[in-house]
Amino acid sequence: MRCEDLVSIIIDYLEDSMDPAFKEEFERHMGDCSSCLAFFETYKKTRDLTKEIKCDDIPPDVQDRVRAFLKKKISQA
């Protein structure tokens, strides 16, 4: 397995959707290649940091207008 091959299938490894034979080769390459191990760990860390992103709350005045709009539409129905 080349480094370029490993990078292209990292997502399958993390999603646990990799063929077992490929998985073994993937893990063996990471054991032999410090750059690929570093790449994998920084890729995984990026994903984990992204998961921590908190979306901004909807502005209260927007939510109030949405509520009022829906009440009006429903009462007209």
Binding site: R2, T42, R47, I58, V66, F69
Partner: protein, 194 residues
């Protein structure tokens, strides 16, 4: 929202319970707003999408097939309304991803040693700073990458659910998600190098 709770909400919406609509607004207006403002950038456009989406959910709830998740169905509606508005907006300020993708030699090996910044400890302040870098970077992505990244990594849908919401195949979702993550990884790597 847990699926049993969601199922109860669906039934109450079908029964036209007015309090169910309030619950729908509380539970989902924020998420739909975040999804659409990421694409449309303007608050008033995102507000329109929230209104149109929730109204359509209420009006068409009897057509909802309960083998799917309510949230997936709702996000699909929101995405369609967002895309309709997006067609009228011309955006050309997206960051092209290619220069941020990893480089390899002709033999397929990394062209440079890779720094493992994942090993470094972080202070709370650094973690916050990294979060801001990620947010800015995500905002610079074109919608085709931003949508799958938001749905999968931020909103927590499975790859299959993202495929269902966007109408893409699972391989296409994975391909776009992977490229978006590679871009973000390189953005953080650049921060650590500088």
């Amino acid at each position: 929202m847990a699926s049993a709770q969601e199922a109860r909400l669906v039934q109450r919406l079908k029964d036209k319970d007015p309090a169910a609509m309030d619950e729908l607004v509380d539970a989902y207006s924020g998420k739909i707003f975040n999804l659409s403002i990421g694409l449309l950038k303007k608050e008033e456009d995102a507000e329109d999408v929230v209104q149109d989406t929730l109204l359509q959910v209420f009006e068409k709830i009897n057509t909802f097939r309960e083998e799917a998740a309510l949230s997936s169905w709702m996000y699909r509606i929101a995405l369609n309304f967002s895309y309709m508005k997006l067609r009228k907006i011309k955006r050309d300020d997206y960051t092209p991803l290619e220069e941020y993708l990893p480089k390899f030699r002709s033999d397929g090996m990394h062209s440079m040693p890779v720094q493992n910044w994942a090993e470094k400890g972080e202070t709370t302040l650094l973690r916050k700073e990294l979060g801001e870098i990620l947010k800015d970077s995500i905002n610079s992505l074109s919608e085709k990458y931003r949508i799958v990244l938001q749905l999968r990594d931020i909103d927590g849908f499975s790859t299959e659910e993202v495929a269902n919401i966007t109408g893409m195949t699972v391989p296409a979702v994975k391909s776009r998600l992977h490229r978006a993550r590679l871009f973000l990884r390189e953005k953080i790597s650049t921060y650590y190098r500088d």
